[in-house]
Amino acid sequence: MAEITVDINKCNGCGKCVNLCPFNQIIIVDRLAIIEVGCTMCGVCQELCPTGAITIKRERLSNEDYSNYRGIWVFIEQLQGKIKPVSLELLGKAKELANKLNQEIAVVLAGDKISHLVKDLSSYEIHKIYLVESQALKRYTTDAYTQVLVSLVSQYKPNILLIGATNTGRDLAPRVAARLRVGLTADCTDLDITDEGYLLQTRPAFGGNIMAQILCKYTRPQMATVRSNVFKKFIPCSNSQPPEIIKIEAKLNPLSIRTKITSHKGNY
């Protein structure tokens, strides 16, 4: 497991780390830094200790080779046959990331009687559309949509999976991440690719007072949710190559959908 240690020969008790620690987990006792149990191993103190007295040892979660995981995926959220703007905003960012990684963009389009949306998406420079249609996907349920997304990801192994941080997205993404046992970063305000090819996720914490940059080095796909209006809407290109459509049969057992929507009210 990861371990944080303070070298008693190097630490001079200057206290710089006490102020740097975002989580207030370092105290100075007898001119020596003591790390308290709430430490999240964020590594800020290690990075900035003037005497290099603090070390965090991390072991890899797994040595599996992740080069089989390729492509940037965007989950297209639709409600009653209309695509949510946040999904289109994500496509713009996905294109940037795809260019940096030289990988394809694919989207997951799930719902009931939504094949007309394929045409709407065809001018967004997408390489593949995984189209999943089923009556059981008419309205969003955690169980049905999680099954669909988890099975697609397991089968086609994307490198990155982006989901809009709507109420639906924030219900779906953590459920999917937990099932896949992969990392997930909520409400990213920026996404980029590091020199090593990892997805660098930037998000606010503590009410926006600090920004944290997060990597998920050892799990795939690298998952992130993004709020609407964070990224600019992608302007479609009329002469883009039409995407390849991959129709997926949704094998949904009604018994596996444990919640029942009895009624709904909204703009639709």
């Binding site: 219900d171 990392g183 009410g207 944290a212 998920c216 919640t259 709904h264």
Partner: protein, 261 residues
Amino acid sequence: MKIVACIKQVPEISEVMIDPKTHTLKREGVPSIVNPFDENAVEEGLRIKEKYSGELIVVTMGPPQAEEALRRCLAMGADEAILISDKVFAGSDTLATAYTLSLVIKQLKPDLIICGKQAIDGDTAQVGPELAEQLAISQITYVKKVEISEDKKKIILHRETDDGYEIIQCKLPVLITVLKILNEPRYPSIRGILMAKKKEIKIVKAADLKADPAKLGADGSPTQVVNIFTPQQHQKGKIVKLEPKDATKEIINFLQDEKIF
């Protein structure tokens, strides 16, 4: 009914506490509180317990001082409190936290688990769904109204959606995450506070759990914070102090120069 409410101790002020010189977060002297959304979770647990009879157990994972937050929940009327605390859990991200919570909650066999919508320090809203998944039960997030069927086997919930709300039925057990609008958390009574002081808080350590060590703490956390910085300050706006006629011209020029208009 057996109800579990998951809570988190958080710093009281999540707003501006930046040292203007060093640009680091100042947290000295900031008191800790129960995450406000979690108070709604506890309140709802208490209301259900009072209406349908049962017990409410509050669970938290955190440092030893999180005991204080649990005591407040006991003072509000919770029956039991469990503190999951061990150095091994340090550095847990949402997935590792949810895994650890799931091991403890599984043993309790609750009918209903209530979490706040999100914590005000991390704002991820991920632990609830990740916990439900690892408990292999349904989840309903963003709940604003709760009803239990007479036979206490089903729950009927109003869930806030992006465009309105939906009414959802589900068999128990289930995990729900709740909104502020759901209820008004009660203040602990003096009697409650005194009673809470005497209550024992059960401490759970890593050795008490049949855990896979690879899923705990920083090791079991797929996400890794690699850098923390203070956000760039927004640029100060330009104030035009002229007669209305001249000011209008000035603003139009500005908009044209910036190619906004």
